[in-house]
């Protein structure tokens, strides 16, 4: 146990913060522990956190995808446009929308890999471009009147109190953990993030893994966009605008190194839970949105700073332990 705790120091810190948050929320708000609230807590940010899970893969792999929020908007816009102007079965429209998301990821992945451009720049262009594509499709219109079953999937509980999206998130998290921690693909993601050249020299298909990740990122963003459309019941060109920084914040808070090669799905999950609980607790206490954002910002800095300072102080003490390693330096 202590061995595990030592190698997962980040997760331990986050777990502590999460527990404190939960206890504080439970004491401060009588509404917090209700089942409805707990479901809502996930449901209200479900699209962001689903994308955060795949973003963790991309960042561990040493890349970044800034275009996710725009791809969410783009896929949803494709879905809405097909629904509005063709007689296509709605399920087919959904599939095409998902394919559009995957295609967006594929294009960016190919540019990154084949032209060897930094993904930061490529996906920054994607961020502008795919948002633009969504606006091209929808202009100033809001498209709704989706089939009732679709709206219901987004808005009503499906299994017990859980809406589809929350179930999807749970499954996605489990699959992500499995893939990252247990499979050869996950291993490659880490090793490439740690050193792409070593991987290349070891016969790992670096380009293939990267392209697959970008496609997965696009596909997941597309999926999240479709889920969002179902939850909102209608789609506009601005859907999910500005989500990217929130998503990246959650991943980095989860202890994933921006330089790639390290981070765990457990850490990302804990970071997601922590952020959601803090926002929910503050929301129930009628604290303004901007202060919620600021609190998350403070937490992001504090969660790296405090262990750093603690280890600094400890290293000054006689018989102190070895310095804490931070998530990324």
């Amino acid at each position: 146990m202590s061995e595990w705790a030592r190698s997962h120091r980040w997760e331990v810190v986050l777990g502590g913060v999460l527990v404190i948050t939960i206890v504080a929320n439970a004491i401060l708000s009588p509404y917090y522990l209700g089942l409805d609230n707990i479901v809502n807590l996930f449901w209200l940010s479900i699209e962001k956190i689903i994308v955060a899970v795949i973003m963790a893969f991309v960042i561990i792999n040493g890349e970044i995808d800034l275009s996710v929020a725009s791809v969410m908007g783009f896929s949803a816009a494709v879905l809405a446009t097909l629904h509005e102007s063709t007689g296509l079965p709605f399920v087919a429209a959904i599939l095409i929308a998902l394919a559009a998301g995957a295609l967006a990821g594929l294009i960016q992945g190919l540019v990154v890999v084949k032209l060897q451009l930094p993904s930061l720049v490529v996906t920054l262009a994607g961020l502008i471009g795919f948002r633009g594509a969504a606006r091209v499709l929808l202009e100033d219109r809001s498209v709704g009147e989706f089939p009732e079953w679709f709206d219901r999937l987004g808005q009503r509980a499906l299994l017990g109190p859980f809406p589809l999206a929350v179930i999807v998130f749970g499954v996605a998290l489990a699959i992500a953990w499995f893939v990252l921690d247990r499979t050869a693909f996950g291993r490659k993601v880490y090793v490439i993030g740690s050193s792409a050249e070593v991987s290349r020299y070891s016969g790992v298909d670096v380009d293939g893994v990267k392209i697959r990740l970008f496609v997965m990122s696009g596909l997941t963003a597309g999926f999240a966009g479709v889920l969002f459309a179902a939850r909102l019941g209608s789609v506009r060109g601005s859907l999910a605008e500005f989500f990217e920084l929130d998503i990246i914040t959650m991943v980095l808070l989860g202890g994933v190194s921006i330089f790639g090669g390290s981070g765990t799905m457990l850490g990302v999950a804990l970071a997601i839970f922590t952020v959601l609980n803090i926002r929910n607790g503050l929301g129930l206490a009628n604290v303004d949105g901007i202060i919620q954002t600021g609190t998350v910002g403070l937490l992001l800095i504090g969660s790296v700073l405090v262990p750093n300072l603690a280890s600094h102080i400890r290293s000054r003490l006689p018989f102190g332990g070895p310095p804490l390693s931070t998530a990324d330096t």
């Binding site: 090793v191 050193s195 991987s199 070891s202 016969g203 790992v204 298909d205 390290s262």
Partner: protein, 498 residues
């Protein structure tokens, strides 16, 4: 050659302990003005700790240091430099984006806040000239070879007016030709009154350059003598505490079928007309200067930088190799010369590194990794190669250089290649580990593997190879059998005087 009578740096009864490890125990070392003092010892002997103490990275637990007769307590490398002690490492720590001149003067432009680029370049040119180094001060340092970068570091030390220059394995990445040039610079340093502490695993170099030699073992100071008083055998015995006769073993055997055959291989602007073949059970050595194109041929065979002309034949079948995956599928593996950047994923565990190239073998359904099988194989290789590590889950970064080298070798052995290309397989590892690596090479050859060994260590190539291919400026000069090759003839071909 009399060592100058004037002591510059004196370390007395210096000790340093890390947790349970006594890294240094009451060691003594005295450097005199205008001498080259060699420090030898196996990895873990305490050389690195000593350097770090002398350059202010560590503080000694006990003991005293004096520089020029005054107490020397540097505190940090910058302050050590200011007081006159600087160090140069095996991997030069230069600024790739800055010019040569800027690299030389970056730490100590004391002419106010402004940088007078012209004057700086003039000054740099002057320093370089004093050392007989032929470099353009305005060119970016990142475009230099390792040797060039080291020369920049030496120039930097000279511009700092250092009294003591510590050189930590400066020749590890250099070809013989470049080593000669480095030694010229070292002798020039000596003339300028500098005390040079020279650390190397290559004993022949120690005999060539050093005035005195100190041996360390297990954190203790074993001996310090004038070079004229020691023999190679004595030095090795003191270093390892055992008999040196077990080095460079090679069991002669009859090679088998041709496994790999290369015909007119070329890559535009890099190498051309390279033809050779390698048989099962044979070691084909590749000699030549660094930059002669040996590594490029290896990279072409391994598919990293594929050839654009010629044919590669394996077991009589022509093959196309466009990527490392292709190469591995055809049974070709390549052990890189650059362990840290290309060989090992430093932050990952020993097991992860060993199975990295063979991950598919441990993949069950759903892509699940069979941890049990993976750990079993890794443990097997650990035992077979004698990799010393706390556990298989330890990041390879925590292993010593020799054990890292063995872990890298384990990765490729696990791939069970038919053709194994070893690029500088013993660079920067100590005598003991080197012998072990050589023993493996021999063992692998006996098991029927075809081995291509690139090495800048000429005695090593001569001792280990059945045949030796010599390259110069991108073309193959010729292939000699072991019997009709010696240091002089191979070197002559490599530098083009033959």
């Amino acid at each position: 050659m009399n060592p100058g009578p004037e002591p510059v740096l004196e370390l007395r009864l210096v000790s340093k302990r890390f947790g349970a490890t006594q890294a240094l125990a009451d060691v003594e070392l005295i450097l005199y003005r205008s001498e080259v003092h060699a420090l030898v010892g196996e990895n873990g002997a305490g050389k690195s700790t000593l350097i770090k103490i002398a350059t202010g990275i560590y503080e000694p637990d006990t003991g005293t240091m004096e520089l020029g007769g005054h107490v020397f307590d540097p505190g940090d490398p910058a302050s050590a430099q200011r007081q006159g002690v600087a160090a140069i490492y095996q991997e030069p720590s230069i600024f790739p984006d800055l010019s040569v001149a800027e690299n030389i003067f970056i730490g100590h432009q004391d002419r106010g806040l402004l940088v007078d680029r012209k004057r700086m370049e003039q000054d740099a040119a002057e320093v370089l000239q004093r050392l007989d180094i032929d470099l353009d001060p305005s060119q970016p340092a990142g475009a230099l070879t390792v040797a060039g970068q080291q020369a920049v570091e030496i120039a930097k030390a000279i511009s700092l007016d250092v009294k003591v220059l510590i050189m930590d394995e400066p020749t590890a990445a250099l070809s013989a030709h470049e080593v000669d040039r480095l030694f010229r610079q070292v002798r020039r340093l000596k003339q300028l009154g500098v005390a040079v502490l020279f650390i190397s695993h290559r004993l022949d170099e120690v005999f060539e350059i050093a005035d005195r030699v100190s041996v360390f073992r297990d954190g203790r100071h074993i001996s310090s003598r004038p070079i004229t008083d020691v023999t190679e055998e004595l030095m090795v015995r003191e270093m390892v505490g055992r008999d040196p006769s077990e080095f460079f073993i090679r069991t002669p055997q009859e090679p088998g079928q041709v496994v790999l055959s290369v015909e007119d291989l070329a890559r535009h602007g890099v190498f051309r007309d390279v033809s050779f073949d390698v048989r099962a059970g044979e070691v084909l050595g590749f000699a030549g200067l660094v930059g002669a194109g040996r590594t490029d041929v290896a990279l072409a065979l391994f598919g990293v930088a594929p050839a654009d002309g010629g044919t590669i034949t394996i077991d009589g079948q022509p093959v196309t190799i466009g990527s490392p995956t292709d190469a591995l599928n055809h049974g070709i593996a390549y052990l890189s010369e650059d362990r840290r950047k290309l060989g090992l994923s430093m932050t990952q565990s020993v097991t992860t590194n060993i199975t990295l190239a063979t991950l598919d073998r441990y993949t069950l359904s759903f892509g699940l990794i069979d941890h049990e099988a993976e750990n079993r194989d890794a443990a097997g290789l650990r035992d077979r190669l004698g990799i010393r590590t706390a556990s298989l889950d330890t990041p390879v970064d925590n292993l010593s250089g020799g054990n890292q080298q063995k872990a890298m070798l384990a990765k490729w052995l696990n791939a069970e290649p038919r053709v194994l290309i070893l690029d500088e397989p013993t660079r920067g590892i100590d005598v003991g580990a080197k012998a072990e690596v050589h023993r493996f090479i021999d063992e692998l050859a006996r098991s029927g593997m075809a081995i291509i060994m690139i090495s800048s260590d000429l005695p090593e190539v001569l001792a280990m190879s059945d045949r030796i291919a010599i390259m110069r400026e991108g073309s193959l000069q010729g292939i000699r059998t072991r019997d009709d090759a010696d240091q002089e003839s191979v070197m002559a071909m490599a530098v083009g005087v033959a």
